[in-house]
């Protein structure tokens, strides 16, 4: 009560100043009338002071004055706001990405607290997905969750009026929506009863899909969605904005997990992954029950694993790690975290560099204001009162800069995602939320303090009248010059760091792509053609392996005969990108199925990438054969199984021996049938998995001999990309209209996608580095201009005594370039210390790449020299007479 009264009173005396003042007058007038006169001036003053006005009034006055003074130098103010805004915007944009990926729950999920992942691991290696029976056992055996759910992402080909559309979808357990605590936007969400087989042909669609594809109609509930050949009844719309439980996948349809055999057949004899423990396909996540922590959940999961391990001694032990968070595997999140920390560090270095550069400009401004400060001190102003002016000016500029920066950061954060591969969905809540604003304003505040700190401190420390008088050789002036030089050196150091980082990233990209990418990459169109879903469930005309082979062969022939098409190749994997892998052996040495399966992921076997390719593949991708022959038309169905290995695989299996003619066993191809392949050729090594990793062992098999249902078509054309894409679409549709075309893009794009992390680093670091060079040059020029202004009289005298223009230029440029050189030296040392931290992202760059360092230093040095020379040339325009007259 009392506190409230006090607050109300104080607020009133601040806000309603006039009313309070009037009341005081009236009260005193009453007293005067009673008393019959008297002097009340002192009373009035004492009462006012009580209300704390005096201090506040002077603050408001100073704030107004600071604003007026800035308005008098609009160029300076605008420059500072823009520079500060850019620094804040860059850091805030990166932080908003950081916030979206690492700190916020995914879109649509309002309650992120308590969500955990259960990740399968074996021998310390993260394996990720679990089998459905394993999930059911965990669900039955766990008490520590409000719900333990399962999900698996896949693609659905939804039949529309005009054709087929591929959408992202999730197969989910009945308690999926309960675990996420999500309600339906319309209709209902899936519940446990939907997980029963026979009652499961239902689907929940996303809010976006409902609005876009179904017009947001209420009668969409109960509509039928024909997906992958199976009719599904739409029962509800998920909460607004929700796109599934994975950060890297945007789902539009959710169906009960028990639909897997019809909707997402996994191939192989044991098609039913609902009962097989060998299918690892579900992601387990849950929400911890109130009061249960990660350790308790882990202990419980271990207990469940141990119990079931004991009950089934023949199966390998499964261990599940309970990891906090949702959306991506913990190792992915760790990798993303490292990258984002790196970017954030770069952005913060830029912000620091901005503050340093602005600090220098503020100091220069202080120099120009010596006389004013001296006058104020002479009239009796306190040092802190004078020093406060700088803080208040900085506060104005800082507020404006932070607001501008935060505003720009909103759109910039979205733009940052352009650096990521365009095809990868980003299920991220990219918004400038409260946390981002706190970051931006915190950064702005630090910048403001950094800006004003030096001038304010110098004024307060040496705030004596004599030393601030113009012309006198003052300690204040000397101290200021010292700080100015230090700031110049500091900004050069930070610029050099950013430039070296940018240079190293660019060099890494150059080395990663050298010799690995065909010259015609921009004209090579890629598209994924998947026959797997077509026809499934519609009259039993499921594509067989034979028909797959025939389909792809006809497609290839038809495409090759089109005008403008130069060459067409097929492959199951897309280089550079990850590929199917499986254990292979020297024929005759392979262990039995049970043993291989139990040790498959322990890295005890050679597990090469396995790529189904057509004969044209090696030519088109410029992979030379170093021994033996290419596949040819003779390698068809019914002939001896043949394969081509790359040099790494050949050396692994038959060290020191020629590989051609050897026999290789690939047991997974047919566990109990013939799985021996004769090596007919050895291909040169290519970094096919990723351009940033070392060469992986690779096995190539003939697509015509061993068909595969989903192939990448690579088409080298003379046509424009859009035309080529529609040509491909037409040709696929002519063969089978039900087969969708996915992921159409060029090889050049594929290379960019594969390199997006280093590209993002190089792009951002490059932008930051160039910004730093520019800001540095502006800062140097501004500081020198100020130095010339201050030393105008001295320059005039020197010129009157016969100094040449050359002397003057040398003198001024020397003043500026000394600190720059010191900054370069310091920057080189710092970069040397920090460089090892960058190495994980640098492919092929040797430690301490001197060309990059020298280039960065040269670029900085030359721009600094240019800025210094331009400033110095202005100095030579000082005429002696004018200079001497100007005081």
């Amino acid at each position: 009560m009392r506190l409230w009264a006090v607050i109300r009173l104080r607020a009133r005396s601040l806000m309603r100043r006039d009313a309070v003042e009037r009341e005081l007058e009236e009260e005193l007038a009453f007293d005067r009338a009673q008393r019959g006169g008297g002097d009340f001036d002192g009373v009035r003053e004492s009462c006012r002071e009580l209300r704390g006005w005096v201090r506040l009034e002077s603050l408001v006055m100073d704030l107004r004055r600071a604003g007026r003074r800035l308005a008098a130098t609009p160029g300076f103010a605008a420059l500072v706001v823009v520079e500060l805004g850019l620094g804040v915007a860059a850091a805030t944009a990166v932080f908003s990405l950081f916030n979206a990926v690492l700190l916020s729950p995914m879109p649509g999920i309002t309650r992120g607290h308590g969500l955990v992942h259960l990740e399968r691991s074996e021998g310390g290696t993260l394996l990720g997905d679990a089998s459905y029976p394993d999930y059911l056992e965990l669900r039955e055996g766990s008490r520590g969750y409000t719900a333990l759910a399962a999900t698996s992402t896949f693609r659905l080909d939804v039949r529309t009026g005009s054709g087929t559309r591929t959408v992202g979808a999730e197969l989910v357990s009945g308690n999926y929506f309960a675990a996420l605590q999500l309600e339906a936007e319309a209709g209902r969400v899936l519940g446990p009863e939907d997980e029963r087989t026979g009652f499961n042909h239902v689907a929940v669609i996303s809010d976006g899909y409902w609005r876009k594809a179904m017009g947001g109609r209420q009668n969409a509930m109960g509509a039928t969605l024909t997906a992958n050949g199976t009719p599904l009844t739409v029962v509800g719309v998920a909460a607004r904005g929700f796109r599934g439980a994975s950060q890297m996948f945007e789902a539009d349809v959710w169906v009960p997990i028990t639909n897997q055999p019809q909707l997402a057949p996994m191939g192989g004899p044991a098609n039913d992954c609902l009962t097989s423990r060998f299918c690892g396909w579900v992601t387990i996540f849950g929400r911890l029950a109130p009061g249960v922590n990660l350790q308790q959940a882990q202990a419980e999961a271990d207990g469940v694993s141990a119990r079931f391990g004991a009950a089934r001694p023949k199966l390998r032990v499964r261990r599940y790690e309970v990891v906090g968070g949702l959306g991506s595997w913990s190792d992915d999140r760790a990798a993303e975290g490292r990258l984002l920390w790196l970017l954030l560090a770069g952005a913060l270095v830029l912000a620091a560099m901005t503050c340093t550069s602005l600090g220098g400009m503020f100091l220069a401004r202080m120099g120009a204001r010596q006389q004013e400060a001296a006058t104020q001190l002479a009239l009796g102003a306190g040092r802190w009162r004078v020093a406060r002016h700088y803080l208040l000016e900085a506060a104005w500029l800082g507020t404006a800069g932070t607001l501008a920066g935060g505003w720009v950061a909103g759109s910039l954060g979205r733009r940052l995602l352009w650096l990521a591969p365009p095809s990868v969905p980003h299920n991220l809540p990219l918004a400038i939320d409260a946390r981002v604003w706190v970051f931006a304003s915190g950064l702005g505040l630090i910048c403001v303090l950094a800006l004003a700190a030096a001038p304010a401190w110098l004024t307060a420390r040496t705030g004596r009248l004599r030393e601030n008088l113009p012309g006198g050789s003052s300690t204040a002036g000397r101290a200021r010059l010292k700080v100015q030089r230090a700031l110049l050196a500091g900004q050069t150091t930070l610029s050099l760091l950013l430039l070296i980082a940018a240079g190293l990233a660019a060099r890494s990209l150059q080395l990663a792509t050298a010799g690995e990418v065909p010259a015609a990459a921009g004209r090579m169109l890629l598209a994924r053609v998947d026959t797997g879903h077509a026809g499934a469930g519609s009259g039993g005309t499921t594509f067989s392996r034979r028909r797959d082979a025939a389909f792809f062969e006809r497609l290839r022939n038809n495409l090759t005969n089109q005008p403008g098409v130069e060459q067409v190749a097929l492959s199951s994997c897309l280089a550079p990108s990850p590929c199917n892998r499986g254990p292979v052996f020297v024929a005759g040495n392979e262990p039995g199925e049970a043993e291989i399966r139990s040790r498959e992921f322990l890295d005890v076997y050679t597990r090469p990438d396995i790529n189904w390719v057509s004969p044209e593949y090696f030519g088109m991708y410029a992979v030379p054969l170093v021994a033996g022959r290419d596949f040819d038309a003779g390698d068809g169905a019914g002939t001896t199984l043949v394969c081509i290995v790359n040099q790494t695989l050949a050396a692994r299996l038959w060290p020191g021996k020629p590989a051609v003619g050897q026999r290789l066993a690939w047991p997974q191809f047919a566990w109990n049938g013939n799985h021996d392949f004769t090596v007919v050729g050895v291909a040169a090594d290519r970094r096919s998995r990723s351009l940033l990793e070392s060469v992986a062992p690779t096995l190539y098999v003939a697509a015509g001999q061993v068909p595969f249902p989903a192939m990448w078509v690579t088409m080298r054309t003379r046509l424009a990309t859009g035309k080529a894409a529609s040509l491909l679409q037409t040709q696929v549709a002519r063969l089978d209209a039900r087969i969708p075309l996915e992921n159409v893009h060029t090889l050049a794009e594929q290379v960019r996608r594969s390199l997006w992390q280093p590209l993002a680093i190089a792009g951002l670091a490059g932008a930051f580095g160039l910004a730093a060079v520019l800001l540095g040059a502006i800062g140097l020029f501004g500081t020198l201009a100020q130095v010339i202004e201050e030393r105008r009289r001295e320059l005039g005298i020197r010129m009157a005594l016969g100094a040449t223009s050359g002397d003057i230029v040398r003198m001024i440029a020397g003043t500026g370039l000394g600190p720059v050189l010191r900054g370069l030296g310091l920057g080189a040392v710092t970069a040397g210390l920090l460089e090892p931290g960058l190495r994980p992202w640098l492919y092929g760059v040797g430690p301490y790449d001197w060309t990059v360092w020298a280039g960065a230093a040269l670029l900085l040095g030359v721009t600094a020299a240019m800025a210094a020379c331009v400033a110095a040339c202005r100095a030579t325009q000082v005429t002696p007479m004018e200079a001497l007259r100007c005081d």
Binding site: L3, R10, E27, L28, F30, D31, R35, V43, L50
Partner: protein, 110 residues
């Protein structure tokens, strides 16, 4: 020399609170009442009285409201708040302790 200076330092708040605890008064009334009660021994100058009243108001010990005075003019009346009464009890206790202590010293000397 004004007799108001006889005021023992730091006791003005106590005196005002005590006076107002009997009935709400305007500023001039407080001064009058004090002078009356002490037989003219204590006269509080307005230069001390009004800042003290305002300070007590700012601290929430007294609350002010406008009302009509005896002669019909609008006047600002001060009244002790609940928190102010607690405060007054503490101040009175403190004063008793101090007065006793001083009394002991003074009698000793005599």
């Amino acid at each position: 020399m004004s007799r108001g200076n006889n005021l023992v330092q730091g006791t003005l708040d106590l005196l005002i609170l005590k006076t107002l605890s009997l009935q709400p008064l305007h500023g001039w009334g407080v001064g009058q009442r004090l002078e009356q009660v002490t037989g003219g021994e204590l006269r509080v100058p307005q230069g001390s009285l009004y800042p003290a009243l305002h300070r007590l108001e700012q601290q929430g010990w007294v609350a002010a409201r406008w009302g009509a005075s005896e002669n019909g003019r609008r006047a600002k009346y001060y009244a002790v708040t609940a928190a102010g009464r607690n405060r007054l009890r503490r101040e009175v206790a403190e004063w008793d302790r101090l007065a006793n202590a001083i009394g002991v010293v003074v009698r000793e000397v005599r």
